[in-house]
């Protein structure tokens, strides 16, 4: 058990991760910029207006990516948290903590863009239907996770405690998902599925895909960058940090 632990530790050694992430971040940043540039151009300029919704539908190009990222990042965060808790891998804790703010941000943006889209289409900014409410709950789950982390001084204890919370919260995700069935909803059902052909125009579909990819790349870059800061903070007395600072690296 303990021997395996040591191997794992080497594999995820903070210094290695720190260097690797440092090398990867520029690439992801570049990809993010490129994809956003193309996606925004296609979405705002090239793609035609919708015959029903006019230009307001263009919100979809940021609404859907942010909504997906918000949900996906939560699951990812919980997975890392679980790994950190069960196998006591510090790097996983760092990743989980680094994901939370970005996930919360995307969730908030999904709510915001959705609300701004709701006004022209539904006539109100907000309705309490299943999809919207569940997204709001997701935001609360993120906030709870971050609040708990911040409330505990001891790093290890904070990681472990909020990991428990994240894992419990994950149970809520499928429940949230199925609540659509108990509750009549105004919100659009899934129109992009893996199994069926997309029901929307190709240009829209491609643009959406590009924007989703862009959001992905952005998340990766920011999360890695935050994880590096987090690592520095935790290990500020470690030899490897001192070495890297003396070497003048960033």
């Amino acid at each position: 058990m303990s021997e395996r632990g040591i191997q794992w530790f080497r594999f995820t050694a903070p210094a290695n991760f720190y260097d690797l992430a440092g090398r990867l971040i520029p690439w992801f940043a570049a990809l993010t910029i490129a994809l956003f540039a193309v996606g925004l151009y296609l979405g705002l300029v090239v793609a035609p207006s919708d015959y029903q919704q006019g230009d307001s539908y263009r919100i979809i190009y940021i609404h859907v990516p942010t909504a997906w990222m918000g949900m996906f990042l939560y699951v990812l965060m919980a997975a890392y948290a679980a790994i950190g808790l069960i196998w006591r891998i510090k790097m996983a804790d760092v990743m989980a903590k680094a994901i939370a703010p970005t996930g919360a941000l995307f969730t908030f943006l999904a709510l915001w863009t959705g609300a701004l889209w709701g006004r022209p289409t539904w006539g109100v900014y907000w309705v309490w239907d299943a999809r919207l409410t569940s997204m709001l709950i997701l935001l609360f789950l993120y906030l709870g996770y971050m609040a708990l982390h911040a409330a505990i001084d001891d790093r290890q204890r904070a990681s472990n405690a909020s990991a428990v919370l994240a894992m419990v919260g994950v149970v809520n995700v499928p429940i949230i998902y199925f609540s659509v069935q108990w509750w009549n909803t105004l919100h659009q059902g899934a129109s992009i599925t893996v199994t069926e052909a997309p029901t929307m125009a190709t240009i829209m579909f491609v643009t959406l895909l590009i924007m989703v990819l862009a959001a992905w790349m952005y998340s990766v870059a920011v999360v890695l960058a935050r994880a590096r800061v987090e690592l520095l903070e935790r290990e500020r007395n470690a030899r490897w940090v001192q070495e890297r600072l003396e070497g003048g690296t960033k």
Partner: protein, 222 residues
Amino acid sequence: MFHPLLALLRRDLTLALRRPQDALTVVGFFVVVVALFPLGIGPDPEFLRSLAPGVLWVAALLAVMLSLERLFSDDFRDGTLEQLLLVPEPMGLLVLTKIVAHWLITGLPLVLVSPLLAIQLNLRPDEIAILMLALLIGTPILSLIGAIGAALTLGLRGGGVLIALLILPLYAPPLILGAGAVDAVMHGSSAQAHLSLLGAMMVFALFATPWATAAAVRIMLD
């Protein structure tokens, strides 16, 4: 009476009986919150009636949540929780015992007074029956889930409010199902589906949450 778990259950119940005001204040809170609504909203009976399931459930949920802060905090503060970790029984079972005691002290009385409040909000007898049934299945879920939050906020300043933030989102499903059950009866359909889902949820919570809570306690006392 000599089995460790029974001793723990008895201890918690005795302590609660020594200060009955604790349990009574939870009930009091429930009653007062429900009573506040007509003050804020206005007295129209039909209107109040249509609100009743939601208001009663939200009030019950808040009352349970508030009382949860003390599930472990007393034991934590005086060091008995630390000693419980040293008891040669699985921590999950000890935690479950404490939750059961807690529900007997706070959850059950809520179920028992709910009909009085329901009458004040103009619910009919059949609706009241479903309300009580839903609360009877639902309040243990609230205690079980809430225990995790209570454990996670042990020893933190501002624990009370932090618990709220941590677990209220998790309370959404039982709330929707519980209030939905009564609503269904009010609109003439059956509450069957809601109640069975609620039941399933309770069984699941019964088996899963004590272990998560025990883990949380260990972490917070580390």
